[in-house]
């Protein structure tokens, strides 16, 4: 199986999701700005969604988010829901914006983070949890995650038209 075929199927991106999750839990914490680390899992979900479309994007988001939820052990479904919606939103972009202008990952990460942060905000307000400076932290997360989407872009990039 070639690398390109693997990246068109579920297992290639799934492997990258696991790697992103591990890196985020072990390597990235010392690089945190105000406690915020780049959301590598979201970057992988966005890039996989841009390659494989909205439905697969939603599926990768669901899997990546569930992995985060189960590892954290509470609020099961919060990240799964947020990333599933985010993956779907990012996946819709490629069909609309083909042939893949440079700003697509920028927009994809923005939409996916927006979806995820809306879910987090709604959940936290329902559970009466307070987060100090949520908009600032959300902005840091966006600025910090976007470069990673561009770094992994060559791995996920497929030049031909979406099916």
């Amino acid at each position: 199986m070639t690398f390109q075929r693997a990246m068109d199927g579920p297992w290639g991106p799934a492997l990258f999701l696991l790697l992103a999750f591990l890196l985020r839990a072990t390597v990235l914490p010392p690089l945190a700005i105000d406690g915020v680390t780049p959301d590598l899992v979201l970057a992988v979900v966005v890039m996989a969604a841009l390659r494989q479309g909205a439905w697969r994007g939603a599926l990768f988001g669901l899997v990546g988010g569930l992995l985060e939820d189960v590892a954290t052990g509470r609020l099961l479904g919060m990240h799964a829901l947020g990333l599933m919606l985010g993956g779907a939103a990012a996946g819709l972009l490629r069909r609309r914006l083909y042939p893949d202008p440079w700003f697509v990952p920028l927009l994809g990460v923005f939409l996916a983070l927006l979806a995820q942060q809306i879910v987090v905000l709604l959940t936290f307000s329902a559970a009466h949890f307070a987060i100090h400076d949520f908009p600032l932290l959300a902005l840091i997360e966006y600025i910090y995650t976007t470069p990673f989407a561009y770094i992994i872009r060559p791995v996920f990039y497929r030049p031909e038209a979406p099916a």
């Binding site: 999750f21 591990l22 890196l23 985020r24 839990a25 072990t26 390597v27 914490p29 945190a32 406690g35 915020v36 680390t37 959301d39 899992v41 439905w55 939603a58 669901l62 992995l67 985060e68 189960v70 590892a71 954290t72 052990g73 509470r74 609020l75 099961l76 479904g77 919060m78 990240h79 799964a80 829901l81 599933m84 779907a88 987090v120 959940t123 936290f124 329902a126 559970a127 949890f129 307070a130 987060i131 100090h132 400076d133 949520f134 932290l137 997360e141």
Partner: protein, 272 residues
């Protein structure tokens, strides 16, 4: 009439969204049943996390050394490589020295205020894989006697409490987590309240039960034991600002944790 595939997918997505919202609502607070699942998953991930941790540390050292070697000029390349190697060794020694100092402080804590408790030193091998929940993963679990709810300290003071236990690992919710609420009191006066996290590692919010609490800047905050989960008297932090409420009465204060929550490499689990 059979619905089209796209419509079926939409139904499926809607059911999935509802199921996830339901799951969220029933797991909003840490539960032992969920904690067990999470503990098992973290135990499976533990070797991978340890491996990634080790490879990352090794790679960083190697990149530093190679980076320094490449910038060396051709004529004294050998000498510079040697210097680079020595520098990386010095850096490694400094890191070990720093770690030694931190471990010594932990030992002092263990032999001092925690003498009456059974404690276990555990290395931190992972942090929360998400940004909005503050927790760490430590390489000690039920096989070492760690239980759900055990307090966790670092040199300085309280770090948090165990919320999920696996065989060889445990997840600890640390103080800044938005869900963290610790029964605490002012050590000097005994005025009690709840210390809450709000996502900020440097400042925690203390809400006092009674308006007009006798508290001032610099006061030591310790666990009150009133929440029934943590033993009383464990140091948490110091008051940095005191909030005035109606009629000038004190009802809340900002507290800076004594433990450096951004730099946790080894912690002490108090086995209850």
């Amino acid at each position: 009439m059979v619905p089209r595939r796209g419509v079926l997918r939409l139904y499926l997505a809607a059911i999935l969204v509802l199921a996830l919202v339901f799951l969220e609502s029933v797991t909003v607070h840490p539960r032992i049943s969920v904690s067990r699942v999470s503990g098992v998953v973290n135990s499976i991930l533990l070797p991978l996390e340890l491996g990634t941790h080790t490879v990352a540390a090794w790679t960083t050292g190697a990149i530093d050394t190679v980076g320094q070697a490449f910038t060396a000029e051709r004529e004294n390349a050998g000498l510079r490589i040697q210097v680079a190697r020595l520098e990386s060794r010095v850096a490694a020694l400094e890191a070990v020295q720093g770690q030694n100092a931190r471990l010594k402080k932990l030992l002092d804590l263990r032999q001092g205020s925690l003498k009456k408790y059974r404690t276990l030193a555990a290395p931190v091998v992972g942090r929360s894989p998400v940004n909005w929940l503050d927790q760490i993963v430590v390489a000690a679990g039920s096989r070492q006697g760690v239980k759900y709810g055990d307090p966790v300290l670092s040199y300085g003071g309280l770090v948090g409490r165990v919320i999920a236990v696996g065989g060889q690992s445990a997840t600890v919710m640390i103080l800044p987590d938005p869900e963290s609420a610790i029964g605490a009191m002012v050590a000097r006066t005994g005025d009690a309240g709840v210390l809450e996290g709000n996502g900020e590692a440097s400042t925690l919010k203390m809400q006092f039960f009674a308006a007009g609490a006798n508290v001032r800047q610099g006061d030591l905050i310790v666990t009150s034991g009133l929440d029934g989960t943590l033993p009383p008297g464990m140091p948490i932090g110091r008051v940095t600002t005191v909030g005035q409420g109606d009629f000038g009465l004190v009802h809340q204060a900002d507290v800076t944790p004594l433990a450096n929550l951004d730099q946790l490499d080894t912690v002490l689990v108090v086995l209850q």
